[in-house]
Subunit: 457 residues, 2 copies
């Protein structure tokens, strides 16, 4: 009976919940740019105050980077869940492609219903607030939470989480729970709630190829002088063969075929790969020949150049031979691929392209394993049933192309599994201009967590 | 006998000549920046007045950009020479790297002798004044010029000369002469006067590869979505093979081996390719295997990426799959290479790398032929002997890796050959902070022109 009242309260309180979310969205918490450090701090403060207002023992925890937020509910009984989200957001450039200011969120009507538009609406402020609002509703209606709840918010997820592992290692006891809940993923389809059980890992590398000791004029030096852009384009251009395979030595070690039951679930999903690609102007899958689009996103590894620059990039022309050329490269990992081996193979690949007059610097490489959840843990089916009660279609176990390293850290450091349940849609434009979150995702997301909390209790 | 007196006068008048040059150098005639348009005009006026003071019929000629200066000497007999130079200069940024204000020229002592330091000292005000001072000396000592002299100064050489071709086409008759003299090049070595007889041409291309219709998140789309940086790096990385050859179809059509006599002259030059490269931190020539460094700079064509950019290039990391990737590419041409064919071959090369989901835009491509002087014209040997009389070493015919389009225009539009004779040194830092011109180059340059005028008469 309580659950029905809680759900009714969520419905009645929807507009107020949106206003609270807008407050959080107005804070420009771009974690990767040091110029926004104070804004990150402000977002953490806002969350601490909001959680205190609904009875959590909440506090900001300093790190060498942006602070963590930790909160514990007063309820001591029931399954202990630890909810994770991140309050930091991606940069907003290119700013000129936004129809409205990214940090002035507005509700808009669209053919698919109302959306909230702005940076962080979907990734991840809107999503993390679905859980906070579910807690608020339980507390408001019943005076308490239905089970034991702890909350853990991070402010560096969009900038490689440099403080996360040290913090988790130093606070293992406080972070221990029966299961983690993570709201930073999407739904495979508008009516199908999805629990992610496979997450790709990632290796990131930034590199600089160095040739001559200064920028040269190509009239005076062009010909005998090596151009580091030539070396960089050759090394990166050879990362893929003509069939979309990555050419690094040993790259596919640890990449397994899907288990039969998961392969069957995926085949039955109402997912149209051609439509998925056509929405971004593409028609031909660019990954390994013979694989489905879902496999390419969820269960196959990738190599991508995320940024490249060198020489003169302004208006007009400058016939310069630059001294340096740069790139940012990442690899999405699956199964048992070893990040250290992938990094070593990439570095060896680049070095094999270096002529004797060039050198290479690798900066701040980092890697995370792919994560595979133990779906025989009973919470997985419990949550799936609770989601099926809220949405038109039954809940499904899916993969996720992105890296959510926290799920692996919960396994490795705390020793718990994670239920990755999110309500993002494919067209949310996360990390892009005009990011949005469906009001329906937000509202039914809050209701979903209210159900899951009751079911897990 | 007159020549000896003229040379003696040049020696006696040296300090006054330097003061006149300093006057011209103080005018901030940066042609590429509209803020300096009045200064360009002032430099043209200064030259008109100076030429009038030594008996030239001189005037400023308006264009849609900066004015030309035209002047004709009173002497009607003898070989008709048309002297070309440019009064505009490069921008001075980064200003903080100059040891003294760029437009307050000063004579300095250096281990290699006195130099005049300041923007335009070598490129090209100091060089053009070597010719004006030679005319002044002849006029002062003998009351007339030794031969028929016309002068043509441009004010847009450092900003792509937008008015040059229209002006030359509209003034063909007035520009017609027996031979052009151009003072905008350097000496192959401090004691070896050099006549440039081969100039490389150039094709410039800027291109954009377009993939998905917006920037994508590599977690959500990485695998099935084509990354335009992958296409760009592959296309550009394959522009050279492992032996330094350019791979474009038909690229070497029209590239000839050096004539025997020129090849011998070059081999005998006191030019140390290893030293040339070591000064910029390099040791191994990056051009076609089996070619000398001088050939690579002067007589072999190149392909270079002068700029490349795409994706996220700021601090930190952003796992974006960009919608677009960009590059600026140039080709230095030699011999009879056809700029239109090279451009077409490059565009075909890029298109052959495009998957069906990518498109390419080429922006503002432009091309200039290489220029090869007809060195059997008698003026070439005449000038070479005159130079040999002035300098310690004999004059030589050399190449030039850069493009000096005016020489090609004199051939194509006016139908005359050019004697490219300049006195710049490799360490003049043209286009860079702390540009200088050796006082020795200036003084012996004036004396060289005095001799050449007499010899050509």
């Amino acid at each position: 009976m309580s659950l029905e009242k809680v759900l009714a309260h969520i419905d009645a309180d929807q507009n107020a919940a949106i206003e609270r979310l807008k407050d959080l969205l107005r804070i420009e918490s771009i974690s990767t740019d040091p110029a926004y450090a104070q804004e990150c701090d402000k977002a953490a403060d806002w969350l601490v105050e909001d959680l205190k207002s609904i009875g959590f023992d909440a506090s900001k925890r300093p790190t060498t980077g942006h602070p963590m937020v930790m909160a514990h509910g007063a309820q001591e009984n029931g399954t202990h869940v630890l909810f994770y989200g991140h309050y930091d957001v991606q940069p907003v450039d290119p700013l000129e492609l936004w129809d409205n200011p990214p940090f002035d969120p507005q509700v808009e009507d669209t053919p698919n219903g109302k959306v909230l538009r702005g940076r962080g609406t979907s990734d991840d402020k809107g999503q993390l607030m679905t859980f906070v609002e579910a807690c608020r509703a339980w507390k408001t209606v019943t005076g308490e939470l239905p089970t034991k709840v702890s909350i853990f918010f991070e402010g560096e997820e969009e900038s490689s989480s440099p403080s996360l592992i040290p913090y988790m290692n130093a606070n293992k006891d406080e972070l221990r729970a029966d299961i983690a809940l993570i709201c930073d993923t999407g739904m495979v389809e508008r009516n199908t709630p999805s629990i992610v059980t496979m997450l790709r890992g990632m290796v990131k590398e930034e590199l600089t190829i160095i040739g001559p000791n200064k920028d040269l004029h190509s009239g005076m030096y062009g010909g005998p002088s090596i151009n580091p852009i030539r070396v960089l384009t050759k090394a990166l251009g050879d990362l893929h063969d003509d069939t979309g395979h990555v050419t690094l030595e040993g790259f596919y070690d640890g990449v397994d075929e899907l288990p039969e039951n998961i392969a069957t679930q995926w085949k039955n999903l109402d997912f149209d790969g051609a439509k998925f690609l056509s929405e971004v102007g593409l028609s031909k899958p660019a990954g390994e020949e013979g694989r489905s689009v879902l496999e390419m996103i969820w269960s196959r590894p990738t190599a991508e150049v995320n940024g490249i620059w060198g020489g003169y990039t302004g208006e007009g022309f400058k016939t310069v031979l630059p001294s340096e050329a740069h790139a940012k490269v990442s690899f999405r990992l699956v199964g048992q691929q070893d990040p250290d081996k992938i990094q070593a193979a990439f570095r060896a690949h680049v070095k094999s392209y270096l002529p004797e007059d060039c050198s290479v610097n690798f900066h701040d490489g980092s890697g995370d394993n792919a994560s595979n959840m133990a779906i025989d843990h009973p919470a997985f089916e419990t949550a799936r049933y609770a989601l099926s009660d809220e949405w038109a279609n039954e809940g499904v176990f899916v993969g996720c192309g992105g890296s959510i390293p926290i799920a692996g850290h919960f396994q490795d450091i705390i020793g718990i599994e994670s239920l990755l349940i999110g309500f993002g849609q494919d067209d949310d434009s996360i990390h892009s201009p005009n990011e949005k979150y469906d009001i329906r995702s937000f509202h039914k997301g809050v209701r979903s967590w209210a159900r899951i909390l009751a079911a897990l209790a």
